[in-house]
């Protein structure tokens, strides 16, 4: 019983730690606007390069 | 060619909306009824005791006051009409029958009851909501709108007879004008026509802005004259074109094209004869009013029609005119700021050039012909291209 309790406590502890780390990481990402900086400065320029290189079937049908 | 006897008289009639014949008809006690758009059947405004007056704003130099009301970013035609109304140019009118043909047109027509520019105590305005398809539902709506906004006000406010008999009579009389104009227009089919596009444009316009009963004798005489008129020894133009698109009520525009070397052999635009001069046929068992509505909905070529059949009709009709009038190409024009024709021009240009193999030149124009240098250059280049194509045997 005690063993199970220990395992459970450990699990809860781990979950709390993981939860806390996740919170700190996501909150930092949120607060410092990380995802938007990544999208604006890295992802979109790459995507735009791809879009600009596309050969579109551009015509009035 | 020898000058047409009445051409200068006709040209003078076009110098003012309130022209000599309009004055005469008003003096005779006829009801002067204004309209702008083909959606308002001209024939209904020519019921016994009435005459139609399609509104133009000739010699319009500035639209400053209309710009104040409607901004400079709106259709120059509607601004010119509003300006002329505010100047007092339509004070002879007893009514304006408007159509929500487009948003700009509707707004302009609304100003006729909002700021009362027409100083005539009898004057009133109604605006119909015209349909955008040619199906039965649309026809029923068109009938209901014309009844509610045209026929009933004519009866209730001006005491006009709107019976079937009266409409039949109006149809009959209008058809006489239409036959004359059509016959005159058909002279343009000849390899070396006895009429120029400019002359025809003038004739067509007077038939729209003057009381039918008063202009008819002049038209008949002109038709007789044309029957025996000798053409130039050799076709004096380098090419033949159909002029297609939105509003053109200034024959100087046709003259501009013809001065560049191409005869305008067909006129498929607002104020042109295609559509407007087709004979109205009343079928067996059909009321005259129903026939009028059916006729106008069928023949209307307005770019606001959205259904596939009507869109196709617009292009097929131009193709027919090009063939029948032996046009080498099409000049497709639209009034600046016109949403409908701006779009239609892009599509039609594609259809004519790529699907129907008809050379097409697209241009955008103002209402008043001011600086025409750029247009002239465009027309000259197009005509040259048509000429080269003709020399190369159509390749």
């Amino acid at each position: 019983m005690k063993k199970i309790l220990n395992i459970l406590l450990k699990l809860v502890g781990k979950l709390i730690v993981i939860g806390f780390i996740t919170f700190v990481a996501t909150f930092a990402l949120y607060m410092f606007n990380g995802e938007n900086k990544l999208i604006y400065y890295v992802v979109r320029p790459l995507l735009n390069k791809h879009y600009d290189a596309q050969v579109r079937d551009r015509r009035i049908v | 060619m020898k000058d047409l006897k009445h051409l200068i008289y006709f040209e003078n009639l076009l110098q003012d909306a309130h022209n000599e014949l309009v004055s005469k008809a008003v003096e005779q006690g006829l009801h002067p009824l204004g309209y702008n758009c083909y959606y308002i059947p001209e024939v209904l405004l020519n019921l016994p005791g009435c005459f139609s007056s399609r509104l133009r704003a000739p010699r319009c130099n500035s639209t400053d006051v209309a710009n104040y009301y409607m901004t400079t970013r709106n259709c120059p035609y509607v601004r010119a009409i509003l300006e002329r109304a505010i100047e007092g140019g339509y004070n002879y009118l007893e009514a304006l029958f408007g159509a929500e043909g487009c948003a700009a047109m509707e707004r302009m027509e609304e100003h006729f009851f909002l700021i009362n520019p027409v100083k005539n105590e009898k004057f009133f305005t109604t605006i119909i909501d015209p349909p955008m398809k040619g199906d039965k539902t649309s026809l029923d709506y068109y009938k209901a709108q014309l009844k509610l906004k045209v026929l009933e006000p004519l009866r209730d406010r001006l005491g006009v007879d709107i019976s079937d008999e009266a409409i039949r009579k109006a149809v009959e009389q209008s058809n006489e004008i239409y036959r004359i104009i059509t016959e005159i227009g058909n002279f343009r089919k000849a390899d070396n026509p006895v009429i120029t596009g400019y002359e025809f444009h003038v004739i067509q316009l007077v038939s729209q802005v003057c009381p039918h009963s008063l202009i008819k004798p002049y038209l008949e005489e002109t038709l007789e004259e044309l029957r025996t008129r000798q053409p130039e020894p050799k076709f004096p133009f380098r090419a033949r074109v159909a002029l297609v698109g939105s509003e053109v009520d200034d024959p100087e525009f046709t003259k501009l094209i013809e001065n560049c070397g191409a005869m305008v052999v067909a006129d498929r635009y607002c104020f042109g004869s295609f559509p407007s001069r087709e004979v109205i046929e009343i079928q067996e068992g059909e009321s005259a009013f129903d026939a009028v509505c059916r006729h106008y909905l069928h023949w209307s070529q307005c770019a606001r029609f959205m259904s596939g059949d009507k869109i196709e009709q617009r292009h097929k009709e131009v193709e027919r005119l090009v063939k029948e009038f032996k046009a080498d190409g099409v000049i497709y024009e639209n009034m600046k700021f016109c949403e409908f024709w701006s779009y239609e021009k892009v599509l039609a240009s594609h259809v004519f050039t790529n699907e129907l193999n008809i050379p097409c030149c697209t241009i955008e124009k103002e209402y008043s012909l001011g600086a025409v240098g750029q247009l002239r250059t465009r027309f000259q280049a197009f005509i040259e291209a048509l000429e080269i194509k003709n020399i190369q045997g159509g390749r």
Partner: protein, 535 residues
């Protein structure tokens, strides 16, 4: 006071100097200080105090979750979509978009704003996944032929009578809502249309739609297409290009333009009947009135709640403000239109908060509103956060937007004949349509609305390419003067930020507020700034 409240209060006090509202109030900065020049990229997110920042963070997570779900539900299709469609790339700007919208929001107004926004995000992400997973261009899916592409301004409620079909507002994904998110996307499509000869003076929304058609960038779905004449001339005209590009049997659902007359409704009713018959024929299905009634009940409830919201908007104590109200109403009415339960449930929750806030005589934006404005005419799609800016900068609360007044009549849920008549009236009063076109009385209704909502100011959206609204310029201005409203014509070009930039739009307001009203801004950092490179 509970210990946690005390603690939060102490932290808030300690960190208040990071709050842009506090900074502006104390003359040491403001909202714009957080941004890199031109880009619209914030160096850090807004510090709104512990509770509100944490709430904003949880909502950020919540929206992120919806996006993960979207990609997770159709990973291959979503990736293909990003690869194929330029407009899909713009959806990556969603988070930045949400941040822009709710800048300066605190307390109740932040909560209702996020609730409404999440309703849109969860709906839109599902719709994107659904469309891409069934887009024949990307390989198609089992529901490809059950979808009915229809013009986005045709209210889809009447289509719910086809319970096995899925109406998709075709232009919403590649054109309308994406322009809200990214001001640079539609100019690309506008340029495509103009390169084929379309003049630059036509309505840019329709020009963009035409560009999407010419660029072959509409998803390929369905077996037949419903177009419409709503809201205006250019919209009618652009459908010519779309129907050709889609190559599907089409039916223009042409509602009466002059719709405020009794004669118009029988016609519009018949047009809807024709549309139903067209879909029955093309899809081989039967219309089910009970299915319609079921969804109409939701729409009726949403509209009932909307009317209650309006009563609260008339007071200074509304917890739902500005763009949070406008954008939600636009999406929930025009795109969802009674089809999704989530919106009814959301409305129930939001109205509860609004009632509570009213009972508490809560004043949004910390009571800093100086003017109550009615926003009339179609708004600039590329400047969705304009109501937010104008509140934060000048204390002008956009109480209601013209488009929020869309069809709010109830639909009969028992008698099919009555229901279709109600639907016709409802559909005639659609987006950008109800008060913008179809007769003077519609546009002139502005003054009654502004008076009823206790507004002292009218901001009249002046879409430079809108011929209908241009046609009432002087009459509007003269009436504003006669009736004693502060009146600003706000020039914009609907979906083309190059013609009248966001900065130009702000300048118009700034000039009025400083020159005419001699007022000082609430936040000087917001008066003039460059966001030309922002999404």
């Amino acid at each position: 006071m509970k210990i946690t409240d005390k603690l939060i209060s102490a932290i808030d006090k300690k960190l208040e100097r990071f709050d842009p509202l506090w900074q502006a109030e104390h003359g040491v900065g403001g909202q714009r200080d957080r941004y890199y020049d031109k880009t619209g990229v914030a160096k850090w997110r807004e510090w709104r105090g512990v509770k509100d920042t944490f709430y904003d963070y949880t909502q950020w997570l919540y929206n992120l979750y919806s996006m993960v779900l979207m990609v997770g539900s159709a990973p291959v299709a979503c990736l293909k979509g990003f690869w194929e469609y330029r407009w899909m790339g713009s959806y990556l700007g969603t988070f930045m978009f949400i941040d822009r919208l709710f800048e300066g929001f605190r307390g109740y107004e932040l909560r209702t704003a996020h609730m409404n926004m999440h309703a849109i995000v969860q709906s839109l992400t599902k719709k994107i996944a659904l469309v891409l997973a069934n887009d024949k261009r990307l390989g198609g899916g089992p529901l490809s032929d059950n979808m009915v592409p229809m013009d986005e301004v045709l209210p889809p409620l009447f289509m719910t009578g086809f319970k096995d079909l899925i109406p998709i507002p075709l232009q919403t994904l590649p054109e309308f809502i994406i322009c809200d998110i990214d001001q640079h996307i539609e100019p690309y499509y506008i340029d495509v249309a103009e390169s084929f000869g379309l003049p630059a003076d036509v309505c840019s929304r329709c020009s963009a739609e035409t560009g999407v058609a010419i660029d072959d960038a509409f998803p390929i779905i369905g077996k037949a297409f419903l177009t419409t004449n709503m809201p205006c001339n250019a919209s009618e005209a652009t459908s010519m290009f779309q129907r050709r590009r889609l190559g599907l049997p089409d039916m223009p659902v042409t509602m009466a333009m002059i719709h405020n007359e009794p004669g118009a409704h029988p016609y519009s009713t018949q047009v809807l009947r024709d549309a139903i018959a067209f879909i029955e024929k093309e899809y081989g299905v039967k219309y089910d009135w009970d299915a319609l009634f079921e969804r109409a009940k939701h729409m009726n409830e949403q509209n009932t709640i909307e009317l209650e919201k309006w009563d609260i908007f008339k007071t200074p104590h509304s917890a739902l403000c500005g763009i949070a109200e406008t954008l939600y109403r636009l999406y929930s009415w025009a795109s969802v239109n009674g089809q999704e339960d989530y919106f009814t449930e959301n409305d129930r929750k939001v109205i509860k908060i609004m009632r509570k806030a009213y009972e508490e005589r809560y004043r949004p934006f910390k009571g800093k509103t100086r003017h109550r404005a009615f926003l009339w005419g179609p708004s600039a799609v590329y400047y969705t956060d304009f109501p937010t800016w104008i509140q934060n900068c000048w204390g002008i609360n956009i109480v209601l937007n013209m488009d929020s007044t869309m069809g709010h009549n109830m639909i009969d849920t028992e008698d099919p004949e009555k229901a279709i008549e109600d639907l016709a009236l409802f559909s005639e009063k659609g987006v950008m349509r109800h008060h913008a076109v179809g007769g003077w009385e519609n546009v002139n209704a502005l003054w009654e609305w502004a008076k009823n909502f206790d507004c002292d100011m009218v901001i009249f959206n002046d879409n430079v390419a809108c011929k209908g609204m241009n046609g009432v310029h002087a009459l509007m201005e003269e009436q504003a003067r006669d009736l004693g409203f502060h009146f600003i014509f706000l020039e914009h070009d609907l979906e083309d930020a190059r013609t009248v930039s966001r900065r130009d739009m702000r300048k118009i307001v700034n000039n009025y507020m400083t020159v005419v009203l001699n007022e000082e801004p609430l936040d000087p950092t917001l008066v003039d700034f460059d966001d030309s490179l922002a999404f």
